[in-house]
Amino acid sequence: MTTDTINESLDDAHNDDHHDHKMTGIKRWLYTTNHKDIGTLYLWFSFIMLLTGGALAMVIRVELFQPGLQIVEPDFFNQLTTVHGLIMVFGAIMPAFTGFANWMLPMMIGAPDMALPRMNNWSFWILPFAFAILIGSFFMESGAPNFGWTFYAPLSTTYSNGSTAFFVFAVHIMGISSIMGAINIVVTIMNLRAPGMTYMKMPLFVWTFFITAYLLIAVMPVLAGVVTMLLTDTYFGTSFFDAAGGGDPVMFQHIFWFFGHPEVYIMILPAFGIVSTIIPAFARKKLFGYSSMVYATSSIALLSFIVWAHHMFTTGMPLFGELFFMYCTMLIAVPTGVKVFNWVATMWRGSMTFEVPMLFSIAFVILFTIGGFSGLMLALTPVDFQYHDTYFVVAHFHYVLVTGSLFSIYAGAYFWLPKWTGHMFNETLAKWHFWCSLISVNLLFFPMHFLGLAGMPRRIPDYALQFADFNKWVSIGGFAFGLSQLIFLAVVIKCIKGGEKAPAKPWDGAEGLEWTVASPAPYHTFSTPPKVD
């Protein structure tokens, strides 16, 4: 379908809905098909999930504060780690990025809305039900899922507790939601770009979401497949993962990680897009190497399909398999390095200021790179035998997911808050949020490297005495980091309620179509497409 026909059909459909009359109260949010409303819903939902998943992490850190079983039973501890992981991955990080996509993509490409607005409403509104089911399983007699967010069979089949069917159902709903969101993103970007905006003129933000959406469409069905196999193994007598029936438990891990590794990039590529938008704005200099950034993002996406078994080096793979997956994994360092070098080159000889979005972006570049270094170390099979399933791995993926993805989300939120609310946020309070988060997050995750190297396995509720000192500090860092996120809540609420009036373009170095509309962005923007040259 060409851009013209889409625009015509949208004009027809929107004839009686073109003005700012929206429903009031809860109905506005339940029935909305407006990309800005849905973006807001996604962002609030993901923040609530972040606090929920964070609350579970707080209990984990209290339990691990000192040796000995303190406040929870080992089985409940496993439920906490499992649901913490699932909530943070599927409830906090992914919906936050979908929220950004909804709010910003149409405004960045000069489109009036997402291409499929009704589906957009549905893909959000099934999410709360998925998480109600997942979190509700805590109140079942058997308790919540307790087999880790990676749900390895047969711990999740023959040996699972009574909530497995609910877990499977919840994951299915999350998957459907993600696939619909991704299809919407792809269709919107392919069809609704403003005249003149060729692919290589799209903002890098748009590119990263475009590529991420393809990854989602490719791998979410694989996740749906593997949880379905798990369901039939548990309740319908199949033996996909049971050697006694001709199956193989390691096959579970192959299928899971074929989804799971691209999933990792689903959670980081949009972060690259956000940071690549913010750094040029505050360095007042164009992004260095735009086209190499596009190619690097695409290469990372393609490589993500041929590295999955690096999560499984200890499962007893043949030597050839170990070498293949080691070399491919090491290769990912190349395009990732290109990205980091490009960000640094963008800052080089710029005219920098350090507003809060920039602070979070700089912290992102440094701390994500540290996560990348430990990733490179983990790629080397012989040493991975030592690191695998220890706190070194926990440190690694929290550096890329918390100081990586989450920090980019904060950077983006501060960057576009004036556009969303029409007010500037309280800079002092926001700086408190940044510095408290930065210090506590490193106190929380950096010592985990030492714990892992010293030999502390992950997912244990109690530990040997030599791990006691670091665990105490990690817990203190954890409590401080958890509390610091409440400052963000305060900043956002204050900013919604009032504050200095934001101009259309509050950051003088910012570029892009979203800054050409008023702040707050009107309910309908770009009903007539802008001309891009």
């Binding site: 000192q66 040796p67 000995g68 079983l69 406040i71 080992p74 089985d75 007699e141 087999f147 390895y152 047969p154 711990l155 023959t158 040996y159 193989d248 360095a283 200099k285 260095f288 190497g289 200890t314 499962t315 007893g316 030597l319 170990e322 070399y327 360092a333 390095g337 980091v340 070098f341 640094v344 800052m347 080089w348 000889r349 710029g350 005219s351 920098m352 350090f354 700089i362 440094i366 790179t369 170390m377 099979t381 012989p382 040493v383 035998f385 030592q386 695998h388 399933d389 700086k431 510095w435 210090i439 030492f450 190297l453 010293a454 030999g455 396995p457 992950r458 997912r459 244990i460 040997a464």
Partner: protein
């Protein structure tokens, strides 16, 4: 950044500095172990090589970044340059990392090939993981036994319920001690065949740089050749259910001579146990003796799931106190359940002696107010096992 923020930051770093210099850190391990095998030392060297390379790259990249942040700031009057691409530079910083990666890949490949060479072993031991213990079986030696956590419950359970009540004083090897360690000879190539009876476990001893998953229904291989006799400790590394954190691994490495002595002792012990088993078939034990042995056996093998109180952790692990099997059902069914297992419950027929099973069934039918008065003798178990 405002002045106030800077003062705050300085304070924070001082606090961090004070924390890391406290004397309690004396024996805290920061780095990977060098271990006691040629392979573990190679792995350590590789780890250090990558660590140094990453640190160097980090210093350069972050150095450039900080330089830029200090000197290229608007408040210092910096004007933005307008360069934004350079194919030459892009090619350069694609090519250099590839070269660095190759220098890492070469030693990694050779170490890996060495690690995966399981040929020509002197001793072969089968390791079987099960929830939550390890079983060791020496090939060609007729020696096999289970190895279970020996840290007493009161050390890890919070006895008085208060937050800082940490139960009994914790020993030096808290959670890293077992009743019967694996014993292997030094300076011999020892091959491990690793498998599992239930879920996936992972057998890991850091000092050997051996970590290999135990997959149910499949056998994985690993090997080690330790040059220093001593005691080495590790843990299960793959989440395997409730007591994943409570199935440690202890390996005692003995000189080849001591190892042979140990083998002989074990042969004698095995023979004695077989005799005792035979003898116990024709003798009857008193209820008191059975209850005493039953309690010890129950605490070691049954209490992880059914709990010391017999209340279990329903619905996954049923209670035995007042349960249909333990007080109403026929004794034979109870014995058969313990012998053969059911669902998640493993068959104990191959883990415990007939005498221990007799004792544990007696205990379960009389403890916690079950009070059936039933007494089960070894011969009853023998009859029920149908052998």
């Amino acid at each position: 950044m405002s002045r106030g923020n800077q003062n705050w930051l300085v304070g924070a770093w001082l606090f961090l500095g004070a924390m890391f210099s406290s004397s309690a850190w004396a024996d805290t391990q920061l780095n990977l172990t060098k271990g006691v095998t040629a392979v573990s030392r190679e792995v350590y060297d590789l780890h250090m090589l990558v660590l140094y390379i990453c640190t160097a790259i980090g210093l350069i990249v972050f150095g450039v970044m900080f330089w830029s942040m200090v000197f290229h700031r608007k408040s210092k009057g910096a004007q933005a340059a307008d360069f934004h691409e350079s194919t030459k530079v892009e090619i350069l910083w694609t090519a250099i990392p590839i070269v660095i990666l190759i220098t890492m890949a070469i030693p990694a490949t050779s170490t890996l090939i060495n690690m995966e060479n399981n040929d020509n072993s002197d001793v072969t031991i089968q390791i079987t993981g099960s929830q939550w213990k390890w079983h060791y079986k020496y090939f060609d030696e007729n020696i096999e036994y289970y190895s279970v956590l020996s840290t007493p419950r009161e050390q890890y359970e919070n006895q008085n319920g208060s937050f800082d009540g940490n139960g009994a004083h914790k020993g030096d090897d808290y959670l890293l001690e077992v009743d019967k360690p694996l014993v292997i000879p030094a300076n011999k190539k020892v091959r491990f065949l690793i498998t599992s009876d239930d879920v996936i476990h992972s057998w890991w001893v850091p000092a050997f740089a051996v970590k290999q998953d135990a997959n149910p229904g499949f056998i994985n291989e690993a090997w080690t050749n330790v040059d220093l006799p001593g005691t080495y400790r590790g843990q299960c590394a793959e989440l395997c259910g409730k007591d994943h954190g409570f199935m440690p691994i202890v390996v005692e490495v003995k000189s080849p001579e001591d190892y042979d002595v140990w083998l002989n002792e074990q042969h004698i012990l095995t023979a004695k146990a077989a005799d005792a088993e035979k003898a116990s078939l024709s003798t009857s034990m008193s209820k008191g003796e059975l209850m005493k042995l039953g309690e010890t056996t129950y605490m070691a093998h049954c209490s992880a799931c059914h709990q010391p109180t017999g209340l279990g952790l329903p619905p996954t692990f049923p209670a035995l106190k007042g349960s249909a099997v333990a007080i109403q059902g026929p004794v034979d069914e109870h014995i058969s359940l313990v012998l053969n297992g059911k669902g998640m419950m493993p068959p104990f027929g191959k883990q415990l002696s007939l005498k221990e099973i007799a004792a544990v069934v007696t205990y379960e039918r009389n403890a916690w107010g079950n009070d059936t008065g039933d007494v089960v003798q070894t011969s009853d178990v023998k009859a029920a096992s149908g052998e």
